[in-house]
Every structure is written in structure tokens, then in C-alpha cells.
């Protein structure tokens, strides 16, 4: 596309001193090192310049560079802040990096450019200890406030055994409990209204039937209507990114399953594809189609859970049992293929773990026939129900512009009228070979978000049908030496494969020093993995960009003025999973 190939030139013309270095990367994203003093104006320029329009802050993260050996000519840096931008008009990504050389790093905030940067910067502060000058509320977000150290710094221990014996004397416990208490003044919330009436602060969660997990929302309420919301996340934080630096490239795959535990292999996919990009591995067609088929099955599975629980949030008892029944059927197929149900851990670097079992066609064909009539039944029961409509139409409305400003992807973005599905726009794993439509709504309310989910299940069925009828023959694994584990059959005939097999299952594969990024359209939005290799058996930095994180950050913005009952409808329609927020 014209205008996007010379972004570096454009920056240079506008800000002659800003551009420090253009880094070549394996994922072939343009990657520019920008001087710290220019980062805010450069980002503003990229966002608003007519020919570029990088309207979307896709991700903001950091890398602790202190243990890096292969710098490959990158500018001097102790901490590197990484900005991923996405341009909808140009349909491409851009990566900006800022090197910070101080031991007490500090950089200007970009919350003035993007609202969604707020939580991302808090996360970088929490994990790396980078200060963001001018941030409206820079405090820890995932770790408890009394935590010492910053977990993603290299010197921070990764295992509990490295941290000495755990002790919690009573005095310390009381102190920690006191820190967890919500104090409205800290968040700039007033305890009284203008008419000097008291507001009620309602602590919704971390244990609450309506939040689908351990999410804590603190509601400032005037009667039953919501004045403000302060989300408190991090209860489900398991350090998935830190574990990426400890596990080998291969043994990290099962951890990805659990990042968004409803979508199973849809988490494996961006991870293995990112590794494959870095290793330069080509995947045989059969493996690609198997990946798509399993991915779509899991999309349906995740949406079925969403369907039932959303209806339950609105007080309907029955749909949840019916959709879970369907999901059980679906898990039957997953189990037959993968051997596990929710966390199949099935994709491998270079393909999938094994070939499809005998008789899989029957199972999938039965399901493809079984589901559509059921979906029709649910339409009658849920989507066409008058009370359901009264509860969802016109509730929780936002427009495309707000959605982009706050980092919304997936069904939540398409509900506002923007047709943006990464399977169509940036086809990966061979999605361009499939016929399906991208459902788009117009109003951006809870009902539209629900409608999109329902339509997506129908489209997924279509894709699965095409996989079923056109499954290519051939290998399910690549012959590339980095494929892990290498094809076992060939090891008996071929010394090279035997060596690769031995090395890759003992040490794990060694991925060349570089960086790679890959993202997919997951069930809840865009899920991406940004990996940095230092040329060893483990990742130097694993960044997981999950959709639920910005989605939940956005909730308070458009929930004000509604009641608690509406908030439940909004939370349900957002379709988040706590593990996906906290990682």
C-alpha cells in the first residue's frame, strides 16, 4: 500500500532527531527506535497524519534488557518500551521502541494520546518499575500493592522456592488487609454528592455470581444507579509472561492454553505461529486446516459458554444448561482428537501433535448437523424474547471511535459497525481459502454484541464444514529441523531427524535471536504473542496481548448512569474471562 513503505522517512522529515534506528525483525513489521523526548509527538503524528492513521494502540509493553547478549546493533537500552500500533485504513502494524538507559527509568505518559494506554502503562510500571510522567493514576495493577520488586525484571525470582520460606505474621497480615481496603479519595471519588447526600460504595466481587470469576468492581452508587466504577484486577494473575522466560519454547505451549481457558487451542495458535515466524518454519496444509478446524470448534465452545452465562446474567435459568449440553458434545470431539477437553495443548511448533484419529469425520459431521437447529431454538428462546430485548437493546452503547480509542477488538468492535476480522483482513494459517462472512451490527449495544456472537457460531459451523469436506492429505508436521518434536516415524530412517528429535525434546529447540509477533482473531477479540529470542532454548521476553484486558478497562467508561442490573448485562455482553485479563 502506498504511503506505508516509507514511514521512517515521514518521521524523519517531521521530526529530524526523533528516529534513532530502524530494526529488522523476523515478523517484518516496521520497527523504529524513537528518542524518548519525541515519543509523544511522534505517536500523535502517526495517529493523526492523514496518510498513516495509526488509530489503534494495539499493545504497550516493555523489555528488561539487562541480561540480553545478542543486541544486534540495537541502540543502548536498559529498559525498552514497545508500542504496537495498528492502522485500520492501511491494514498494517507498526512497532515503535524507546530505549531507557537509567536504572530508575522514566518516560512521558501517552494517556493523552490514547485512553487505553492507562492500564497498559500501569502494568508496565507494576511489572518493570518504569515511571510514566503525568500518568493520572500510576499504581500497581496486577500485583498486590504491598508487593516488593517488579516481577518482570530479570533479577526478580520466578519460583517461590527462590524466595525463601513464606511467613505471614499477624501484624503483617493486618497491614496487608488494610492496604486492600478501598479508599475512595485515592481514586478521586467523592463520598458525597453535590446535594451532600452520601454515595454508597458497593464492593462487587471478587466473589460474586455476576462477574464470572474473581473480578472486583467497586461501584460508586447513587441509589441503584452507577456513578462510577473502579475495577480492581489481578486476582487471577499467574505470571504467565514470567513463566515464558523459564520454560523452553516447546514446554510453554500448555501454559498458553490456560491464558484464556475457554478457547483452548485458539491460544496455542498465535504462540506457535509467532515461534514459527522466528524459526522460518513452513507448515504443511493439512496441519493448517486441522488448526483452523480445532480453532473454530473452540470458538463455538467459548461462544456457547458465553451464550448460556449471558442469559443467566439476565435471569434466564435454562439456556446455560442447554448450551453446556452442546458444549459437552463438542468436547466429545475435542477429546477424541486431542485427548483432553478444555486444555488440549495440541498445537506444536511446526504442526500439530498427532494426525486426526480414525472416524473423526463422523463425529464432526454429526455435530455440524446437530448444532444449527439448536441455535435456532435458542434464538426463539433468548434473542427474540421481549424481556431479553428490553434488557439489552440500547444498554451499554459505545461507538466505533470510542471502541478504537479504548482498544476494543473482536465482537465488541464489530458490533459498532466496523467490519474488522483478522481472519479476513490479515488471513493467517490459510483462512483466505475459506468462505465465510463477518457479521457486523450497527448500534454497539449489548444486544448487538450478543447477536454477533450468535452469528459467529453459524459462520464457524460453515468453516468447519469446509474443513471437513476439503481436508488435505499429507503430513501433519513440518520437516523443518526446529519442528518439536520431530516426526517420530522418520527418526528411524534418517539420522538428521533423529538428532533433531533428540535435541528438541531434551534441550528444546533453539530459536535464532530475533523477535516475532503473531496475532489471531480469538473468540473474545484479538489475541497476540510478541516473542523476543536471545538465541537460546527459552524466550527472552514473552508478551501476551489479550483482548479482555482493554475490554474490561473500557467498561466503567460506558457504564455510568446505568443500574446494577444493566451492569450485569454489560459485563455479560463484553464476554471476558478473568484469566485472559490477568494472565
Amino acid at each position: 500500500m502506498p504511503g506505508y513503505d516509507d514511514i521512517g522517512e515521514k518521521i524523519k522529515i517531521r521530526f529530524p532527531e526523533a528516529l534513532l534506528y530502524e530494526q529488522p525483525t523476523r515478523d517484518e513489521f516496521p520497527t523504529f527506535w524513537i528518542s524518548k523526548d519525541y515519543i509523544v509527538p511522534v505517536l500523535g503524528f502517526l495517529k493523526n497524519e492523514a496518510g498513516l492513521q495509526f488509530k489503534f494502540l494495539y499493545d504497550l509493553t516493555a523489555i528488561d534488557e539487562q541480561a540480553r547478549t545478542n543486541r544486534q546493533g540495537q541502540p543502548e537500552s536498559r529498559f525498552t518500551i514497545v508500542y504496537h500500533l495498528l492502522s485500520f485504513s492501511g491494514n498494517r502494524f507498526l512497532r515503535l521502541k524507546v530505549g531507557l538507559t537509567e536504572e530508575q527509568p522514566s518516560i512521558p505518559t501517552i494517556t493523552t494520546v490514547w485512553s487505553s494506554a492507562n492500564w497498559y502503562e500501569r502494568e508496565v510500571y507494576d511489572m518493570f518499575g518504569v515511571n510514566f510522567e503525568g500518568h493520572p493514576h500510576l499504581s500497581r495493577i496486577l500485583m498486590p500493592r504491598y508487593w516488593e520488586g517488579h516481577p518482570l525484571q530479570k533479577q526478580h525470582p520466578a519460583r517461590a522456592t527462590e524466595m525463601g520460606q513464606f511467613k505471614l505474621p499477624e501484624a503483617q497480615m493486618l497491614e496487608q488487609q488494610d492496604i486492600l481496603q478501598f479508599k475512595p479519595e485515592e481514586w478521586g471519588l467523592s463520598a458525597h454528592s453535590k446535594d451532600n447526600e452520601d454515595f454508597m460504595f458497593l464492593n462487587l466481587g471478587p466473589q460474586h455470581p455476576g462477574t464470572h470469576g474473581i473480578l472486583r468492581l467497586i461501584l460508586q452508587m447513587d441509589g441503584e444507579s452507577i456513578v462510577n466504577i473502579v475495577p480492581d484486577i489481578g486476582f487471577h494473575h499467574r505470571g504467565a509472561e514470567k513463566m515464558g522466560e523459564r520454560q523452553s519454547w516447546h514446554t510453554y505451549i500448555p501454559y498458553t492454553d490456560r491464558v484464556e481457558y475457554l478457547s483452548g487451542v485458539l491460544n496455542n495458535l498465535p504462540y506457535v505461529m509467532a515461534v514459527e515466524k522466528m524459526g522460518g518454519i513452513d507448515i504443511p496444509d493439512r496441519a493448517k486446516v486441522i488448526r483452523i478446524m480445532l480453532g473454530e470448534l473452540f470458538r463455538i465452545s467459548s461462544h456457547l459458554v458465553w451464550y448460556g452465562t449471558f442469559a443467566q446474567d439476565l435471569g434466564m435459568m435454562t439456556p446455560v444448561f442447554l448450551t453446556f449440553y452442546d458444549r459437552e458434545k463438542l468436547f466429545g470431539i475435542i477429546e477424541a482428537i486431542c485427548g483432553d477437553r478444555m486444555h488440549p495443548n495440541w498445537f506444536r511448533i511446526g504442526g500439530v501433535a498427532q494426525d486426526l484419529p480414525e472416524g473423526w469425520e463422523e463425529l464432526v459431521r454429526d455435530f455440524v448437523k446437530y448444532l444449527p437447529p439448536r441455535l435456532k431454538e435458542y434464538d426463539k428462546m433468548v434473542m427474540k424474547n421481549r424481556i431479553f430485548k428490553a434488557r439489552t437493546v440500547g444498554i451499554g452503547v459505545y461507538n466505533t471511535e470510542e471502541a478504537i480509542d479504548w482498544g476494543v477488538t473482536g465482537p465488541g468492535l464489530r458490533a459498532t459497525g466496523l467490519e474488522w476480522d483478522f481472519r479476513k483482513k490479515q488471513p493467517y494459517s490459510g483462512y483466505d481459502q475459506f468462505e465465510f462472512e463477518v457479521p457486523v451490527a450497527a448500534n454497539g449495544d449489548c444486544y448487538d454484541r450478543a447477536w454477533i456472537h450468535v452469528e459467529e457460531m453459524r459462520q464457524s459451523i460453515r468453516i468447519i464444514e469446509q474443513c471437513l469436506n476439503n481436508m488435505p492429505a499429507g503430513d501433519y508436521k513440518s520437516h523443518h529441523p526446529l519442528t518439536t518434536p520431530a516426526d517420530k516415524k522418520r527418526t528411524m530412517y534418517d539420522i538428521e531427524t533423529l538428532i533433531n528429535h533428540f535435541v528438541n525434546v531434551t534441550w528444546g529447540p533453539v530459536i535464532p535471536a530475533n523477535e516475532g509477533f503473531c496475532c489471531v482473531e480469538s473468540s473474545k477479540g484479538n489475541n497476540g504473542y510478541y516473542l523476543v529470542s536471545d538465541g537460546s532454548t527459552t524466550s527472552y521476553r514473552t508478551r501476551i496481548r489479550t483482548p479482555s484486558f482493554p475490554h474490561v478497562q473500557f467498561v466503567p467508561h460506558y457504564s455510568k448512569g446505568y443500574t446494577i442490573a444493566d451492569l450485569m448485562a454489560i459485563l455479560g455482553s463484553v464476554d471476558f474471562v478473568l484469566s485472559d485479563i490477568d494472565r
Binding site: D313, G315, M316, M317, F321, L322
Partner: protein
């Protein structure tokens, strides 16, 4: 002397009968919901899981009866008893069969309305005494809901009273010998049915305890037998509303003579109980303000219109 014994026998029968039915409904509801939800439901205790009721009751009785330290203790204890009392008192005016009535009052219907108003206190007091924000919200919702729906509940019954010319339930049943009141009073029936669901605060009108919003609303802090009273009270409420619908609109014990009157009564009553359970399985919950505006803006004018038209017809035919 003999008459007194008969009377006491009726009282004991009604008391035991209604409480047993209410407890049995726990099983019926769980089993029926399971059938409608593609599940098996209780099937472990006894044949077809029938003894589940016994197991549930034993569990409720033997659970620790815990009173949180922050509650208003006296009110906290009194609140659950009110619902049991007021509903059991209401049963005294229901004629199950000719002569099978505890108190054949000539203001029977008014007595029922008075008792159901008292029921509102349970929710308000339980919500207030629990000293919990969720309970309070549930209590406030419950109070508003019950008081509003009582208005149309009373008004919806006035058509029946006008046609029968009496507040006495036995006479109302006898007045339906020619035709059940559900036909001339169809509007009244529908309004009473809706108000009845709201009075028993069951799905879709379970806003005072809306699980996904308020955890368990006004009874969040209750456990053990105190919770059991709310639990059984709810089923007693369903039984009461179902039997009143039977009496007021479906000719009570009247029916072809191949079955005794009491069986006719029970058949009709259970049909409505099942309808209540089916409602719960099917419908989502409206929002609080939607429920209120639905009541005041639609049901109230309809109920008034019904009284007006019925009154005019009764006046002109006399």
C-alpha cells in the same frame, strides 16, 4: 363437642397438608426444571430421588444456625417467621372442598389481602436487619415491588367479588357453578396471575434476590433453618397463589363427579404450580424500573378498567 374435633382435624390437616406440599415442591421443582433443562435432576436418594426432600430437610435442620455478629439480632430472627406465619394464616380462608375450610369468613378475600401485605415485612426487615448492602438493596426492591403489585392484586379481584356478590370464598366457588370466572374475568385472571408471581417474588419477578446482581438479596446472610423458612415460605406462597387462582377463577373443587371434589381442587392447583415452575424455567428477569413501570402504567389501568366494565355489566343486568 364433635364439631370442635372436626374443626381441629381440619386445621391439622390443612397445616400439615400445606407444609408437606410446600416441602414436596422442592423435589417437584428440581425434577421438573431438570426435565425442561435436559438434565436428570435429583436421582440419588430413594427411588427416582423422591427422598431428596427428606435429605434437604435434614440438611437444613442440622446446619449451624449462625447469626453474623453485625446484624440486628432480634429483627434478624423475627423476619423469617413472618413469611411462614402470614402465608399459613392465609390458608385458613381457602376452601379445599365443601365444608373443608378452617375459617369460613365473610371477608375472606380481604383477610388474604391483609395477610399478603404483612408478607412484605419479611423482606424489608430481613434486608434491613442483615446490615449488608446487597441485602438492603434487595429489601428496598422487595418492598417497592410487593407494595405496588398488591394494589393491582386487590383490584384485579374486585371483578370476581362484583360477580359473585361476596368476599366469602365458599360463596365465590358456588357462584361459579354455571361458568368459571376465568371466562368473564379473563383480564382479572391474567393480572392476578402476574401479581401473584410478583408477590411470591419468583422468577421472572425475583428482583429482591436477583442472584446474578445481588448475590441472594435480602436473605444473603441467612443460613440453616432461618434460610429454610424463606425457602419453604416461597413454596408455601406458590401453593397459596395457585390455590387462590383455582378458587377464584377455576371453580375451586367444582368438576365432573367421577372424581371427589378435593381431587379436582388438587389437580387444578398442581397445574398452576407447574405453570409457575415452567415460568421460572423460561423467562429472563426484567429490570427493576421496567417491572415498576409495567405495573403502574399497564396493569393498574387495566385492572381499573376491568372493575369499571364488570361493575357496569353487573349493574345493568341486575
Amino acid at each position: 363437642m364433635n364439631e370442635i374435633w372436626v374443626h381441629i382435624l381440619i386445621i391439622v390437616c390443612v397445616l400439615l397438608g400445606t407444609v408437606t406440599i410446600a416441602a414436596g415442591l422442592i423435589y417437584v421443582e428440581r425434577k421438573m426444571l431438570a426435565v425442561w433443562q435436559q438434565r436428570l435432576g435429583p436421582n440419588r436418594v430413594g427411588p427416582f430421588g423422591i427422598l431428596q426432600v427428606v435429605a434437604d430437610m435434614i440438611k437444613i435442620f442440622f446446619k449451624e444456625d449462625w447469626i453474623p455478629s453485625f446484624v440486628d439480632k432480634k429483627v434478624f430472627i423475627i423476619a423469617p417467621t413472618i413469611i411462614m406465619l402470614s402465608i399459613l394464616m392465609s390458608f385458613s380462608i381457602v376452601p379445599f372442598a365443601p365444608g373443608w375450610v378452617v375459617a369460613d369468613m365473610n371477608v375472606g378475600l380481604l383477610f388474604f389481602l391483609a395477610m399478603s401485605s404483612l408478607g412484605a415485612y419479611t423482606i424489608i426487615l430481613a434486608g434491613w436487619a442483615s446490615n449488608n448492602k446487597y441485602s438492603l438493596l434487595g429489601g428496598v426492591r422487595g418492598a417497592a415491588q410487593m407494595i405496588s403489585y398488591e394494589v393491582f392484586m386487590g383490584l384485579s379481584l374486585m371483578g370476581v367479588v362484583l360477580q359473585a356478590g361476596s368476599f366469602n370464598l365458599t360463596e365465590i366457588v358456588n357462584a361459579q357453578k354455571g361458568m368459571w370466572f376465568v371466562i368473564p374475568q379473563f383480564v382479572g385472571f391474567v393480572i392476578f396471575l402476574i401479581a401473584g408471581v410478583a408477590e411470591t417474588h419468583r422468577l421472572p419477578f425475583d428482583l429482591p434476590e436477583a442472584e446474578s446482581e445481588l448475590v441472594a438479596g435480602y436473605h444473603s446472610e441467612y443460613s440453616g433453618m432461618k434460610f429454610g423458612m424463606f425457602f419453604v415460605g416461597e413454596y408455601l406462597g406458590i401453593t397459596l397463589v395457585s390455590s387462590l387462582i383455582t378458587v377464584l377463577f377455576f371453580g375451586g373443587w367444582l368438576g365432573p363427579s367421577f372424581l371427589p371434589p378435593i381431587i379436582w381442587f388438587l389437580v387444578k392447583m398442581f397445574a398452576f404450580i407447574l405453570f409457575f415452575i415452567l415460568l421460572r424455567a423460561t423467562l429472563p428477569r426484567p429490570r427493576y424500573d421496567q417491572l415498576m413501570s409495567y405495573g403502574w402504567k399497564l396493569l393498574l389501568p387495566l385492572a381499573l378498567l376491568n372493575v369499571l366494565v364488570t361493575g357496569a355489566i353487573v349493574l345493568s343486568t341486575n
